[in-house]
Each structure stands twice: as structure tokens, then as C-alpha cells.
């Protein structure tokens, strides 16, 4: 099982670097994961997306529709790709500690 | 009895035995394999687009596959030409061989006389082409295995020896026909005293033994390919495809 190490604390992640238990997520961890996703610094814009993802996930148990994410945060898809180069599903969800959306997406 | 008589008698016994054994193995093997295919259920509808909508259309599709090789034509024109010439020439040569098996010989077989050599040479040429293709292209070289070469080599030897006994070191037609008809009527007689003919016969008998248990079975298996023999009827009323395993 791969692990990610953060200030001495080890966290289980899956093969793609997504944390196994979304409940163990915290903001410091997000910063650490962000570095693996070519996001050097989490700005206010990043946090807005991340918090919305967390909020939605806690309510519904899944990531929101991309269309809804854009609408609720006010960023269009292009901006989201600028913030998270590997995209909303892979980059943003990983940093927000959500499981990776899989299926036909 | 001279020594040579003894050898020919032993050879005759060998070929008579092998002949019956090969004929039996071929017939029983083919029946066993093809009945096996026929009895194996197909759990799900499996027609390949663009599929015929009716059973009649499916029969025509399979007959088209067997006679014209349309898929090969789509895939590779040279291969199609080589394969089609090979099979057509083989069919012609086999048909012409009826003159050794029938009495009286059908008229059509006799009329083939002027073109028989042509088909024989065509058959040999097609084998050489297919052999060259197997070795000459990196892609076919990669996938070819020993049985592929064996089958082609055996057919090549049959064609070569066959052409030689017909057009060069002639075998006595009456002896050959007498031997074959003797086998067929279960009154076997001595083999023709013609080593090259016996070599030809030997290769043929080996081919018959090998046929049902090798890829050469495509000759019968082609009729049992579900992607080709099934019509596409899943949306027709009253044509529900029932899984034979759940009947």
C-alpha cells in the first residue's frame, strides 16, 4: 500500500495518490497533496474549489457535477484547469481528499 | 516369391491398412469435431454488423463467406487473391481426382482434361505464394508457428508429387484406379508399383489423419461461427433469443 508522508504522519493512499479514508483529510494534508499535482501554492481560489468539493461530498457522498462546481464557485472550466492542471476530477478531488470519480468519466 | 514381391506385398498391406485407418480417422474425426461444434450452445446473440435480418440471409452470408472470402477481400487484396486461387485450384484438382474414384467417370471430369495441368500448377503456385507471404512479411512471420509451416509443406509435397506422377513419371492410371476402387469396394488389391505415386498417396493419407485435429478444420468450422451464422433479430417480436443453457 503506498503512503504519503506529511510532517512525520503517514497516510494511506491508493495507487493514484488519492487518500483512502476521506475522513482523515485536513488542510495541511491538502497542501502536501497539492505539491504532487503541480500546484505549488493553494490560493484563495483553490480553497474555494476545495471547500465546495468537501462540502458537497460531505452532504452527498460523491463529487458534484462539473457543471455545478463551475456554477457554484463561479469559475469556468478553463479556470479550473488553470488552478488544477490535471482537472477537476483528478486534481481538485485528490487535493480535496475525495475518492477519485471513476466510471465512464 | 522374389524379394521384391515380398516388399511390394508388405507395402501393399501397409498402404491398405493406413488407407482404411486414415479414411476412418478422417470421417470419424470430422464427424466428431463438427457434431461437437453443432452441439455446443451459444449463450448470447452474437451477430456481427452488418448482419442479415433473416435466417435465409444468414445462410447466404455463410455461403458467401465459404465461396468468396469477402472479409479477406476487405482486409488484404493480395492475401485474398492468393487464398482464393489456392482454394479454387484445390477444389478443381480434387474434382478432377474423381476419375480415380468413379466408374464410369462423370463427363465433366473428362472434359477438364485440357485445363487440368493449369489448375495443378496454379495450386502449386498458390502454395508457394502463401509460403512466401508467411516468411516474407514481418507480421505473418511473427504469428506463424510450426503447424502452419507443416500444413503448407505437406500440401506442397502433395502438389509436387501429384504433378510429377501426372505429367512426368506417369503412374499407370489403370493400376491406380484399380487399387483405389479395390479399397472402396473392400476388395483391396496390390498397390501400383510406382514409388512416387506411393509417396503422393502417403502424404495424402497423412493429411487426412492430420486434418480433423488441426487448423485445417476451418473447412468445416467456418459453418459454425456465431458472428457469421446468426441473424440479427433481437428487436423482432417473437424472436427472443433464449440462452440454451437456461432452457
Amino acid at each position: 500500500m503506498p503512503v504519503i508522508e506529511l510532517e512525520g504522519i503517514q497516510m494511506d493512499v491508493d495507487e493514484d495518490g488519492f487518500i483512502q479514508d476521506p475522513a482523515t483529510w485536513n488542510e495541511a494534508l491538502a497542501v502536501a497533496i497539492a505539491k504532487t499535482e503541480d500546484v505549488e501554492e493553494l490560493t484563495e481560489d483553490h480553497w474555494k474549489v476545495v471547500s465546495y468539493l468537501r462540502e458537497y461530498y460531505q452532504q452527498f457522498g460523491i463529487a458534484p457535477m462539473i457543471r455545478k462546481l463551475c456554477k457554484e464557485t463561479g469559475y469556468d472550466l478553463k479556470t479550473i484547469y488553470e488552478l488544477f492542471p490535471s482537472g477537476p476530477a483528478k486534481g481538485a478531488c485528490k487535493i480535496a481528499g475525495l475518492p477519485k470519480p471513476t466510471g465512464c468519466v | 516369391m522374389s524379394a521384391s514381391d515380398i516388399i511390394w506385398t508388405l507395402l501393399s498391406l501397409f498402404f491398405i491398412g493406413l488407407g482404411y485407418f486414415a479414411a476412418f480417422a478422417f470421417a470419424a474425426g470430422m464427424l466428431w469435431r463438427l457434431i461437437g461444434y453443432l452441439r455446443t450452445p451459444m449463450p448470447l446473440p452474437h451477430a456481427l454488423t452488418p448482419a442479415p435480418k433473416t435466417e435465409g440471409g444468414a445462410v447466404l452470408r455463410v455461403l458467401g463467406d465459404v465461396t468468396l472470402f469477402p472479409n479477406l477481400f476487405k482486409a488484404d487484396k493480395w492475401l485474398w487473391a492468393g487464398a482464393w486461387v489456392f482454394h479454387a485450384a484445390l477444389a478443381a484438382v480434387l474434382f478432377r481426382h474423381l476419375r480415380y474414384f468413379t466408374y464410369p467417370v462423370p463427363g465433366l471430369v473428362l472434359y477438364m482434361e485440357p485445363v487440368a495441368l493449369f489448375f495443378g500448377l496454379l495450386f502449386g503456385a498458390a502454395i508457394l505464394f502463401l509460403f512466401w507471404r508467411r516468411l516474407g512479411l514481418p507480421r505473418t512471420l511473427y504469428i506463424s508457428n510450426l503447424p502452419d509451416y507443416f500444413a503448407l509443406a505437406l500440401l506442397g509435397l502433395i502438389a509436387g508429387t501429384g504433378l510429377m506422377v501426372s505429367y512426368w513419371l506417369h503412374a499407370n492410371l489403370v493400376d491406380v484406379k484399380g487399387f483405389i476402387l479395390g479399397l472402396m469396394t473392400f476388395h483391396p488389391v496390390e498397390v501400383p508399383r510406382h514409388p512416387l505415386f506411393l509417396l503422393h498417396l502417403f502424404f495424402v493419407l497423412i493429411l487426412m489423419l492430420y486434418f480433423p485435429f488441426s487448423k485445417l478444420l476451418h473447412a468445416g468450422g467456418v459453418f459454425f461461427s456465431p458472428s457469421r451464422h446468426q441473424p440479427y433479430q433481437v428487436q423482432l417480436r417473437g424472436k427472443r433469443y433464449v440462452n440454451p443453457l437456461e432452457r
Binding site: G103 | M42, T49, A75, L146, D148, F213, R240
Partner: protein, 481 residues
């Protein structure tokens, strides 16, 4: 990402798009493998979590059982003559150059074991091209049977119609039975039993998504267009790919606009809001179990008919429904019914007469990608084209050897749409990308959620600037509501 041969494989693009096979690059893709499955997923779908101790015996027993129960497998094990007609037809060979991705070489991985244990050739393995089933070979099975997208392109060119998909399906079934399966496929099947769909969208989220789309469309059109959920007594149950209500929202909106325009009562079901069936990529038992959910959902809601949405393999599994899940006589014919067929029937009846503004799509030069499953397994070739011609002025076809029944797989179908094998996906997507480039189209229409997820990535990778979307998206653009 390991790079494969990057040279273009379509030559003379301006003339007719003849395909050029790459040179052989042995073992080029031998190290690209899917992640293995996780115990939590395999437990949920009745499969062993890891390689069972007596795996060889069990694999051979399963193989023997399948040979007795599947005419296609049995015949296709015997009759291949290795003529080579298929060797330059598979997108995964064309993209990687790895000869093990020849359809015939892939099938030989299974045939060698067949000959060894089920034919006389097994007595002389070296002479008869037979091999022992050992861990080395099992590893090759796992690699190369998950580099096949079961798209059936090779079978179109096989003189006997040998269907490598059927061989891959059998190999995956054997592997699943001994505890060898991929994380991607097993996770998705497990989510279907848990949430009703491949994405794992729980009912509350599904409803929230539908309400959100209602607001969006109201904002856009001013019309109260509905996206009903679990409405008992509706006439139509729509089983879309769940991705339509998550990522491909334009397609979902298209369904809503279409049914609104036609004034039909329809619904989705939170018990089964998925047409897709990953059981098809895994084993027969799960294929059947997932398929039965559709009929069960339709019965629970009391609908008159079921319509399958824009999903390729959903339709391949969909046409199996009467076989897998029993007669559909309680529904209105025709059944099974695909949304494209439904739209064409409505077009024929004149339901859209005078209400389609083709110029709404004039910004687009549209080309159509036949999903492998809808085209080659589901006979769905003309319908999407008829719709596109009815709603677009500018439609262009890709080269004839890359469309219709000769279509290329998008490169990620049938269980390959997972990121760890991205090199294979991009390589497999190469022939399609080259063909699209050749048309200069700027809208790539298709009727499959997997294609809609894969194509934007492969088009980007191969530098083809094109928007990917559904056929129904175009209809919705043109429809004067």
C-alpha cells in the same frame, strides 16, 4: 508516459486515408497494466480477492466449462489459420507497434493453453504450438487481455468472423474466477450494486443533479423542462449512462428537451440509473445481474417502455436484455429501444417537421465517431447519421475504412478507461485521432459515454482541436422548443 511510435499512420490523408501499419516493436506495451482489484470490491461482486492457491486447476476447469458452453469460443479456438488478415487492424497494435497486440497473437495466448490441455497437440507442446499455463503466461493474459477493448474490429476482417472480443471475454472470465481482475472494472460493478450506477452517485445526489439541471434549463430557455426521478407511472424509463448526469450534462439536457418537446412522460430510476454494464468486461454472472436491474427498475416504476441512452456498451448489453433477463413482452415494442432509434422514428413520423433549425449548428463542422459497441454489436450505424443530417448543415465523414462497421475504438472502451494505462489509451486512440484530423471537423459527435470521456483526452494528446459531444446535444441545439 512511455511514448510509442508517433509517426502518422494515415498516409495520403487528402486522398483516401489509407492506413499504414507501423513496424513491429516487440514488448513495447508489455509493462502497461491496470491496477489489480481491491478486496472490498471483489467481495461485493462474488469474486476471489486474490490469486487462489489452486489457481491453475481452477482456471483450466473454468476454461473447460466455457468450451462446453460457448460455441463461439470453441470454434474460434480451433479454426484460426493465422493468415494475418487481422494483424494490421487493431488500434492497439497500430498505436503501440507491439505484435502481441495483433488480434491473432492475443488470441494465441489462450489458444496455446487450449492446445496444451484440450487437444492432442498438448502431447507434443513444442511441435504443436502449445504452452503450459504458468505464472508468466498468466501475467501476459492480464496485460494483453486488458489491452483489448473487445471492439470486434478484427472480426470484420477475419475470413471466419473470429471474434477476439469473445476470446478476451472468456479470458477475463477465467481470470476473474481465480482472483485476477482489475480495480477499475470491479470497483465500477461494485458501485452499481451499492448505488445503482457506475459512478456511484447516491440517490440524493442524483436528484440534486436533476434539480440543478432543471434550474439551468429554466434559466436558459424559460421553460419548465423536467428531469424526473423515480416517477411511478411514467411512460418511459430512460437508462442513460450515469456519466450523462455528471460530466456529459449537455447530453442529459438533450434528453430533457427532447421529451419535453414531444410532451412525453419519462423518468430515471435511482435503483437503476445506469445503462452501462461493466459485467460485460468481467464475467457472465455480473453481466446478467447488472442487466436484470434495468427490467426490475422498469417493473417497479410501471413504465410502458425502456429507452437506452447514448452509451455504446450499454446498447451491446441492452440488446441482450431479453436473453439475460427474460421476455420483455410486458413493455410496448419495439424493445430493446435505443434513443437514436426513437429519435429517427419520431423524425419519420414528422414530429420535428418545421421545428428544427439546422443553422443553429452552423458553427460546427460535424463528424461522427461510431462507437465500436453500438456499431459492431448493436447495428446502430444509420440512425445517428440520420439525426445529424436532420439537425446539421455541415456533416463530413471520416475515411471509409475508419467508420461504420470498420470503425476504430476510441481507445478506452470495455474496461480500459482508467488512468494508469494512459499510454495504451493514447496509443489506441491514435487511429481515431488521425482520422478526425483528416476531416478538419471541429465537432466530434458520438453516442457513447466512454468515448466522450476518452476522446477529449486523445484528441488533445494527438493535437486535434475538436469539441466532443453527443448526437442528441446537436438535436437539442437545433430544436425550436
Amino acid at each position: 508516459m512511455p511514448k510509442f511510435d508517433e509517426t502518422p499512420i494515415i498516409k495520403d490523408p487528402a486522398v483516401n486515408g489509407v492506413l499504414r501499419a507501423p513496424g513491429l516493436r516487440e514488448h513495447a506495451s508489455t509493462d502497461v497494466r491496470c491496477h489489480p482489484s481491491k478486496p472490498k470490491d471483489t467481495a461485493a461482486i462474488d469474486l476471489p480477492a486474490e490469486l487462489v492457491p489452486d489457481w491453475k486447476e481452477r482456471a483450466l476447469a473454468k476454461f473447460g466449462e466455457l468450451l462446453e458452453q460457448n460455441q463461439a469460443l470453441r470454434v474460434y479456438m480451433d479454426i484460426c489459420v493465422r493468415c494475418g488478415a487481422c494483424t494490421d487492424k487493431c488500434q492497439f497494435f497500430l498505436g503501440t507497434g507491439d505484435p502481441q497486440n495483433f488480434p491473432v497473437a492475443r488470441a494465441e495466448l489462450l489458444r496455446r493453453v487450449y492446445r496444451r490441455y484440450f487437444t492432442p497437440a498438448g502431447l507434443f507442446p513444442d511441435l504443436g504450438a502449445a504452452s503450459d499455463l504458468d505464472e508468466d503466461l498468466l501475467r501476459k493474459w492480464y496485460t494483453y487481455f486488458y489491452q483489448c477493448s473487445e471492439c470486434r474490429r478484427c472480426s470484420v476482417f477475419c475470413p471466419y468472423g473470429i471474434d477476439t472480443a469473445e476470446i478476451t471475454i472468456a479470458a477475463r472470465e477465467i481470470m476473474a474466477s481465480i482472483g485476477v481482475s482489475t480495480k477499475y472494472v470491479t470497483e465500477v460493478v461494485a458501485k452499481v450494486y451499492q448505488t445503482g450506477n457506475n459512478l456511484g452517485i447516491p440517490p440524493a445526489a442524483w436528484k440534486d443533479n436533476c434539480e440543478f439541471l432543471e434550474e439551468e434549463v429554466l434559466e436558459e430557455t424559460g421553460l419548465p423542462i423536467r428531469f424526473p426521478v423515480d416517477e411511478a407511472g411514467a411512460d418511459i424509463l430512460l437508462v442513460p449512462p450515469s456519466a450523462d448526469n455528471f460530466a456529459n450534462t449537455d447530453t442529459m439536457i438533450g434528453y430533457g428537451k427532447l421529451f419535453h418537446y414531444l410532451g412525453l412522460s419519462w423518468t430515471t430510476s435511482t435503483y437503476c440509473n445506469e445503462g452501462g454494464n461493466f459485467g460485460l468486461f468481467l464475467n457472465f454472472a455480473n453481466l446478467q445481474k447488472v442487466n436484470r436491474r434495468i427490467i426490475d427498475a422498469a417493473r417497479m416504476l410501471g413504465v410502458k417502455t425502456i429507452i437506452w441512452g447514448e452509451c455504446g456498451h450499454a446498447w451491446r448489453a441492452g440488446i441482450l436484455t431479453p436473453t439475460l433477463s427474460g421476455p420483455m413482452d410486458m413493455f410496448d415494442p419495439p424493445y430493446p429501444y435505443h434513443i437514436s432509434q426513437f429519435i429517427v422514428d419520431m423524425l419519420r413520423k414528422g414530429a420535428f417537421d418545421g421545428r428544427l433549425d439546422k443553422s443553429a449548428n452552423d458553427d460546427y463542422l460535424v463528424t461522427y465517431h461510431d462507437p465500436c459497441n453500438s456499431a459492431r454489436a448493436g447495428q446502430l450505424i444509420e440512425e445517428p447519421r440520420q439525426i445529424i443530417r436532420a439537425v446539421c448543415n455541415r456533416f463530413v465523414e471520416m475515411p471509409p475504412n475508419t467508420i461504420r462497421e470498420k470503425t476504430f475504438c476510441c481507445g478506452a472502451g470495455n474496461g480500459l478507461l482508467t488512468d494508469e494505462i494512459m499510454p495504451i489509451r493514447m496509443a489506441g486512440g491514435k487511429p481515431r485521432a488521425m482520422a478526425v484530423k483528416h476531416t478538419k471537423a471541429n465537432y466530434l459527435a458520438t453516442v457513447c459515454a466512454i468515448c466522450k470521456a476518452q476522446l477529449p483526452e486523445s484528441m488533445h494528446y494527438w493535437d486535434v482541436p475538436v469539441k466532443v459531444g453527443g448526437v442528441i446535444d446537436l438535436l437539442a441545439n437545433a430544436l425550436k422548443l
